[in-house]
């Protein structure tokens, strides 16, 4: 009887101390092997966002440094996009409103049509959305650089396609990036349910830094 009681207690105890959820680190990773003291050391190199420099809606330089000590959500769009962008921006606006007062959260939207989307146009677009340029950066820059970072860093699609409405194809993905430039989640920016998931994952990610 007593053992049964103890067993029950321990079951209850362990069910309560369930391990906290941790988001995975996405992307390919390498393992560096080095030798020290005659033993092999294995060091995992995770996929991380490459160095970048773009210009935002205030004509300010935006780089990895801008997002130091912040987690951020990144996407690719263009202002004249007739298909999925308005839905994505509506969903991103939900995220923005949810985390508006949290200094550890930022947003980064890259235009994939820098010829049309000038700094002035991006500025107007951001103002029309009613968002602050400190928190939500709309960036432009060299088109090839933007395509490159989309494909290599954010594992997103962005390219010219004369057959697509608006002249570009791009994925509607939202990428969640942590403070160490690692991608911790990829979500469909056109799906409100996926964006709900993103909101709760952002809270999970922020918790990692509380305990550190």
């Amino acid at each position: 009887m007593r053992t049964l009681f103890l067993a029950l207690c321990s079951i209850i105890f362990f069910s309560c101390t369930e391990q906290e959820k941790r988001l995975p680190i996405l992307g390919n990773f390498d393992v560096n092997v080095s030798e020290s003291n005659g033993e092999n050391d294995y060091d995992t190199i995770y996929h991380s966002i490459m160095d970048f420099e773009f210009v935002n809606q205030d004509s300010l330089m935006v780089s990895n440094k801008t997002f130091e000590n912040k987690i951020y959500v990144s996407d690719f769009f263009f202002t004249s996009c007739p298909t999925i962008c308005p839905i994505m921006k509506g969903q991103m606006l939900r995220l923005y409103e949810e985390f508006e007062s949290n200094q550890e959260v930022a947003f980064l939207s890259h235009t994939i049509d820098p010829e049309y989307d000038t700094v002035a146009l991006l500025k107007d677009y951001a103002e029309r959305l009613g968002v602050s340029s400190e928190k939500w950066h709309f960036v432009t820059g060299d088109k090839q650089e933007i395509f490159k970072i989309a494909q290599l860093s954010y594992m997103s699609v962005a390219a010219n396609d004369a057959n697509a409405p608006g002249g570009y194809i791009h994925s509607g993905r939202f990428l969640l990036v942590d403070k160490k430039r690692h991608i911790r989640g990829a979500y469909d920016g056109t799906s409100p349910e996926d964006v709900d998931q993103l909101i709760s994952d952002m809270y999970v990610l922020l918790k990692e830094y509380e305990t550190e």
Binding site: S80, T83, P86, I87, K89, L93, R128, P165
Partner: protein, 143 residues
């Protein structure tokens, strides 16, 4: 043979209903057909930008819901704008919008009529049916 109440009253009601409001009833049926088709067309062609709820996107994309622009717009002009798009800037509820609206080139007159009917009767104008014949005529006279 003795008929009970239902057996007498049912044909009587059916007779009254069919005769008195035959035309009106046809129009009601047509209106609901247009609304159903219009909703599908709206969701496939318009909702990405204007939203399923017709609220638009902040001050980037204008709303349709309770938009003064729609209340003062003629149905014929609306049909033309849906088919051919819009590149002029417009003012909706006091805000200026300049994002061009792409047209739906392959839209038939019937589909244009269904869309106009749906938009009008879903978000505030309540102007009833906009028939295919009117749309056909309107689309020939777009400028």
């Amino acid at each position: 043979m003795k008929l009970n109440k239902v057996q007498i009253l049912f044909p009587l009601f059916a007779f009254i209903f069919s005769c008195v409001s035959n035309e009106k009833r046809m129009e009601m049926v047509k209106l609901s057909q247009y609304m159903v088709e219009g909703m599908t067309l709206y969701r496939n062609n318009c909702a990405n930008c204007h939203g399923i709820d017709g609220k638009g996107l902040a001050r980037v994309i204008p709303p349709l819901k309770n938009a003064d622009y729609l209340l003062t717009m003629t149905d014929d002009l609306l049909a033309c704008q849906i088919k051919n798009g819009l590149s002029d800037s417009i003012i909706v509820n006091g805000d200026l919008y300049f994002q061009p609206m792409p047209g739906i080139k392959k839209l038939t007159a019937l589909e244009a009529a269904e869309l106009v009917t749906y938009v009008n009767n879903t978000w505030g104008k309540e102007s009833g049916l906009y028939g295919v014949k009117k749309a056909e005529k309107a689309l020939l006279q777009c400028y």
